[in-house]
């Protein structure tokens, strides 16, 4: 028996420990491939006006880009909190992802519209550039138009206070009441 014959077994043992650890981690917490980089260029119609918009139409101050769709149940759960944030003065851009524009407009009429602008991404190409895994996802872009943070899943006040405070300190410091946590359903 030679010791070196055990090397593959040893390697595999390490790998198994790693994979076991991996099972309890959340891979969707992976950051965007684009983190720290400028928001990707795009030329897409706006949901309500139908006009073509691009990166230049996004504001020069910190803002959220929220990926949503009418087929996404969690987005409905998240929606009231977005309305709250918008009324507290947080600029939110929607990325209407692989959706039906008619349904999307109906949704906003019915539930309220928190979005300053809504980028229509029917085929998901902008989502692809961003590295979107699914809806909902929320990105923070800073005043230079760089993507500085990404959250996968429902955005609620707990998440917002924990992770978004750096860019929206005035909002976090009390103007928005602690809304109840949305139940995670997907």
């Amino acid at each position: 028996m030679q010791v070196r014959r055990f090397i593959p077994l040893l390697g595999f043992g390490l790998l198994s420990v790693l994979l076991f650890r991996g099972l309890s981690l959340d891979p969707t917490a992976l950051p965007a491939a684009r983190l720290g980089q400028p928001f990707p260029e795009f030329a897409k119609p706006e949901l309500q006006s139908g006009e073509a918009i691009g990166v230049a139409d996004l504001s020069q101050r910190p803002a959220l880009v929220n990926v949503w769709a009418t087929w996404c149940y969690s987005c409905r759960v998240e929606h009231p909190y977005l309305l709250e944030l918008a009324s507290a003065g947080v600029p939110i851009y929607g990325l209407n992802y692989k959706d039906d524009a008619v349904k999307a407009r109906a949704w906003l009429t019915q539930l309220g519209d928190p979005y300053a602008l809504n980028i229509v991404d029917v085929e998901g190409s902008l989502g692809l550039d961003l590295g979107v895994y699914g809806a909902p996802e929320t990105y923070v872009i800073d005043r230079d138009g760089k993507i500085v943070h990404r959250h996968v899943g429902i955005l609620d006040s707990r998440v917002f206070h924990a992770d978004f405070g750096a860019w929206f300190s005035s909002v976090v410091e009390g103007t928005v009441p602690l809304a109840q946590r949305g139940s995670v359903a997907k």
Binding site: L9, A52, W71
Partner: protein, 660 residues
């Protein structure tokens, strides 16, 4: 009733698989002939009952039985029947059943075609495969039962198959891929059986070889179809994305490539024995690992099935038992005595070792890249994603390193060769290729150093292979071409190596010379790209079976000749409301023209993406040649003759029947 019968069949198959694992193996240890003789019948039994379960699930899909959960989640009454059928494996539960069915098919094939093998060997091989079947049937029954019902709240209609998967490519891509994945269990089982029996000799390698080649060939074809499907179906003209799930299929392929070549050395020369066994274990382990990665949710990917940690844990435990057990067996039983036969540095053995090193290193780097995000996350060192730049940076130089050797390998001699002989044989081709490559690449496209290099390397491989072919054809005295002298092994290798050259050339050219334009176009607009003129003549709407399509009619002209009418579509699927881009492609051997429709951007105009993709077809034609070549090698008479007469292998020849 039908789903319940299916469920029962699956349970019976599970029971038979347990019997197959235990009884013949026990018999092989005790020398109990009757117990060993049970193995083939039990293997056939597993196949029969898995096939019944599969057929009954297929019936549920075809009859729109939405009380079955997977049918409700993945089918729809409007779906065309062919897609209802293929929807069976467009989901986790059903594809797992397909996995088991194919495994049972391989088991039965081994049982039927290995009658000449020693009984104990067959018994052990089938037992090992039975154990794998036990694991996957338990996985299916315990965590992913495909026959689960939605009662009493049965939906009126199903929520439809993902439109991306409603494509003829999907009907055959997974079965072919699984044929490869699962087929690698055969050389694995042979390796384990040989380790248990302590008989790791040339005959073991000879028995494994045809199975390995066929499995590897199917894996090649499966990967090829996946790449092709991604190209025309995803709508953005890419053909390989280094996505974790693609990597999951690519790692076993790379390891399998090393195995196919290493088995040749072990069979012909009796060396590399431990190494070959290890490769056989690795290749199948990587295909199990791929299954784990795809179905556990530890990595994110566009392909991944619904994540479920419980399923992940199940496969992980199974993986630990199978792989850990085999590696332990290897550590304890692998031959420790060095082979009697040696070989010189200048020999075919050394060249094949280069092949083995390159492909093992390639598989390891792909594994590292795929698992890196997980490693960093597990060590709490932050979140990372590894993209194409890493993979290209390590993979491209490795392949470039390999290619110079690919031409020398097939013409070299076993044990000892002379550099002078190589020089004599290859100086002519070398000069020809070095002179012609830059000229050719400059004639075809604008000069580009990477393309010139690719033409050089691919040309080197192709010229070497063709020269060897010519040599053999004209070896006789009569002057007539000696087609009959070519063995299937040699023909297969020639095809595969030519295919490899074609893939490399296609990959580099399409990467370097592709052109694309994103435009806003309305009726009557036209645009130029790659020397072609695209005119959008009309926009219309057309209903399909379960969708409505917006269509744009393009007339493509080159100079004054109209060469094609292309109709890209934007489909809205009725059941899910999902929107799909259906690209229109004018395919050609030297270039593809590719049009994909984006969104309507107002005033009757659409966002349009035009692409010019030179030599992209070479990728798939080349991969097809590789896969087909591998299948051809299995026809070699040598394997059958040996099986029938159960002789010891003949002494190593001068390398006339080497199969790649």
């Amino acid at each position: 009733m039908i789903p319940e019968l299916g469920h029962i069949s699956l349970i019976i198959a599970f029971g038979l698989a347990i019997g197959l694992t235990a009884i013949p193996f026990w018999g092989s240890l005790r020398g109990h002939v009757a117990a060993m003789n049970l193995a083939p019948s039990l293997a056939v039994g597993v196949l029969v009952f898995t096939a019944i379960a599969f057929a009954l699930l297929a019936a549920s899909f075809l009859q729109d039985d939405f009380s079955v959960a997977v049918v409700a989640a993945n089918s729809n009454s409007l779906l065309p029947p062919l897609f209802k059928f293929s929807a069976l494996w467009g989901n986790h539960e059903g594809s797992l059943l397909l996995w088991v069915l194919i495994l049972a098919g391989w088991m039965t094939a081994v049982a039927c075609l290995s009658r000449g093998l020693p009984l104990a060997m067959i018994a052990r091989v089938l037992s090992v495969m039975g154990l794998i079947a036990v694991g996957f049937l338990a996985f299916s029954l315990l965590t992913s039962n495909p026959f689960e019902r939605l009662l009493p709240n049965t939906p009126l209609d199903g929520s439809d198959l993902n439109p991306l998967l409603q494509d003829p490519g999907l009907i055959i891509h997974p079965p072919l891929l699984y044929m490869g994945y699962v087929g690698l269990s055969v050389p694995f089982a042979f390796a384990i059986a040989a380790l248990v029996g302590g008989r790791l000799d040339a005959s073991w390698a000879r028995w494994s070889r045809p199975w390995t080649n066929v499995a590897w060939g199917f894996l090649t074809l499966g990967i090829m179809l996946g790449s092709w499907w991604a190209y025309y179906e995803l709508g953005w003209g890419g053909w390989w994305f280094w996505d974790p799930v693609e990597n999951a299929s690519f790692m076993p392929w790379l390891m399998g490539t090393a195995l196919v070549h290493s088995l040749a050395v072990t069979e012909k020369r009796g060396v590399f024995r431990s190494w070959t066994v290890l490769l056989a274990i690795f290749a199948f382990s990587l295909s199990l690992l791929g299954t784990f990665l795809v179905r556990s949710g530890v990595l994110t990917s566009v392909h991944a099935f619904a994540a479920d940690p419980e399923r992940g844990l199940f496969i992980l435990v199974f993986l630990a038992l199978v792989v850990g057990g085999s590696l332990l067996l290897y550590a304890l039983r692998a031959p420790t005595v060095a082979s009697r036969v040696g070989y010189a540095v200048i020999s075919r053995e050394s060249l094949l070792m280069v092949n083995n090193l390159v492909f093992t290193v390639a598989a390891t780097t792909v594994l590292l890249g795929t698992l890196f995000p997980l490693v960093m996350d597990a060590l709490s060192l932050g979140k990372y994603s590894v993209g194409p730049p890493y993979f290209n940076a390590v993979f491209v130089p490795l392949m470039a390193l390999l290619m110079p050797f690919m031409t020398v390998g097939p013409i070299s001699r076993w044990r000892q060769d002379a550099p002078r002989r190589w020089l004599q044989e290859l100086l002519g081709p070398a000069i020809a290729v070095v002179v012609l490559a830059p000229i050719l690449s400059a004639l075809m496209f604008d000069f580009n150093v990477w393309v010139a290099l690719a033409v050089l390397l691919a040309g080197w491989v192709a010229v070497g292979v063709l020269r060897d072919l010519w040599h053999r054809l004209t070896a006789g005295r009569s002057g007539a071409l000696q087609w009959r002298r070519l063995s299937p092994s040699f023909v297969g290798m020639t095809l595969a190596h030519l295919g490899f050259a074609a893939v490399v050339l296609g990959a580099v050219v399409v990467t370097q010379h592709s052109e694309e334009r994103d435009l806003r176009m309305a009726e009557g607009d036209s645009a130029e790209l790659g020397g072609f003129r695209f005119e959008l003549t009309r926009i219309g709407q057309q209903p399909g079976a379960n969708y409505i399509a917006d269509q744009a009619f393009f007339v493509v002209t080159e100079g004054d000749n109209a060469i094609a009418t292309l109709v890209p579509e934007k489909r809205r699927y009725l059941a899910s409301g999902q929107v799909m881009t259906e690209a229109a492609i004018d395919a050609g051997l030297l270039r593809d023209l590719y049009i994909a429709l984006g969104e309507p951007v107002g005033e009757g105009a659409w966002a349009v993406r035009l692409q010019y993709k030179p030599m992209v077809r070479w990728l798939w034609v080349g991969s097809f040649l590789i896969g087909f070549g591998a299948l051809v090698t299995a026809l070699d008479r040598r394997y059958r003759v040996q099986l029938a007469s159960r002789q010891e292998p003949e002494p190593a020849g001068q390398g006339f029947e080497f199969a790649g």
